[in-house]
Point group: C2
């Protein structure tokens, strides 16, 4: 497709359809509080924000609009994925490369940061307590934190910088979307229809670094165990996996309520890049 | 959601996610030549045409644009569904009722009919041979049929009128979208998440009339058998079904390549109406 907003929306849909993605909603699994249709509605609702980004709107307002639309039905399905995809859609207006994506996030302003904080008013996002000196900037304060943002003159990139380590979506902003682009390369190299590729690449990402949403919710030990288990299942050379074993692992994580959502966000970003580069075909 | 184009796109996605829908692509089944991701891409690609209809464009050009976008990846996933949903989106600008939907299709022109014929140039649609006097108007002629359309002064509603009997999508145009509105009522009355409701209502529709796509591809005897089998599985009073038996029937029809696609189109139209009327919640 020619329109980056089309590809972004399709990336969100292909991500959730990819199966098995251990611990996540996928074509064959729902979580207790988050179902497949929440992701369908989230992708549709995000459309207006994606269109804004594709048409050159600033990152913060486009993100806020996408989140507001995503949350029409009340669930937070794709907050992290949109935080990655919105600047990438903006970059795709020029050339979707790591340097251009970096220049997009370096161009963010205090107003973008304010819009990011307002986005938290539309949806519940799972976040931990901030360090003491960051308490006035706790995202859970929503728009109430904007005066503190303005006092300190923090751009959205500055806010992301302060969220690393501990949030691998923010880390992408600081590291030139390194893992998102790696995911896109792996998607291009993998076999099968795009949803199978999404599942394969999800597992390869999960095997490399602890998922930061799992760390926040279940602690480092659980996150490390999940990473190790994923690594055992991945044949890194061939990107081949024992599918039955991955299915079992997927059921187990869903039963335990362990949801590596950050890794799913990275997979969605990789899918967007791969679709834009026509490296994956439907 | 407030925007009819959002609800229309979501209806297409919820329809394909609904499972089990015997013989159709659903959350758990692909066909050999038509996979789940074709429907995801079809719904995203149709967006611009849906936006046109929501913004008051004429039915024919909005439909043609929707089909062109749907077919970006080369598959005909939702031709019939869009032929129902586009006039309903147009009606939703005013009031989504049967009389308004009728007035929309009664307002179609020869130019709308010409756009409909052009839509066939973007995608392969399975159609049978027309009667001899209709040969110049064979839809497989695409834009080449437009002079004949203009000679005879046929509007898009006239074209639909000539496709009944034999095409239950066209029949909806002639009968005030009767079964689409019935589907919406049943969706509202059914139990469970919207995708379960979609599956229940699909089966109830399949049990009532032979699917016209099955008639075209496999003949009346097969279509009648499918209808009978569906009727045995439906408890009409409660809209309750024996799910395991329906799953078995679904696998059997997929194996036989019997695809009641017209019934899926009606289900999508019903989902759109139900979402617009806020009769189904995500």
């Amino acid at each position: 497709m020619d329109d980056p907003a089309d590809n972004a929306e399709l990336a969100l849909l292909l991500e959730v359809a990819g199966t098995p993605k251990p611990g996540n909603v996928d074509r064959h699994r729902d979580l207790d509080d988050l179902r497949f249709e929440h992701f369908l509605a989230g992708a549709v609702g995000a459309r207006e924000g994606l269109d804004l980004a594709a048409n050159g709107a600033a990152v913060g307002p486009a993100f806020e609009r996408a989140i507001e639309g995503m949350a029409t039905h009340g669930e937070n399905s794709q907050f992290g994925a949109l935080l990655l995809v919105i600047p990438l859609v903006r970059a795709a207006r020029d050339d979707l490369s790591q340097p251009v994506a970096e220049s997009v996030v370096e161009g963010t302003t205090v107003a973008d940061a304010a819009a990011f904080y307002r986005a938290f008013e539309h949806v519940d996002v799972f976040v931990g307590d901030p360090p003491e000196d960051m308490e006035p900037l706790d995202v859970r304060r929503g728009a109430d934190a904007i005066p503190a943002l303005e006092d300190r003159g923090l751009t959205l990139l500055d806010v992301m910088d302060r969220s690393v380590p501990g949030d691998d979506v923010a880390r992408e902003w600081i590291r030139g979307f390194e893992r998102s682009f790696t995911a896109a390369e792996r998607l291009a190299a993998a076999d099968g229809p795009p949803t199978d590729r999404a599942a394969t690449v999800f597992l390869s990402l999960l095997a490399e670094r602890p998922d930061t949403l799992v760390v926040k919710r279940h602690g480092e030990a659980v996150a490390a165990e999940v990473t190790e288990r994923a690594a055992e299942l991945v044949d890194r050379d061939a990107l081949e996996t024992d599918r039955a074993a991955v299915e079992t692992f997927a059921d187990e994580l869903v039963d335990r309520g362990v949801n590596p959502g950050t890794t799913a966000d990275l997979t969605a970003a990789g899918l967007f890049i791969a679709l834009e580069h026509e490296a994956v075909e439907i």
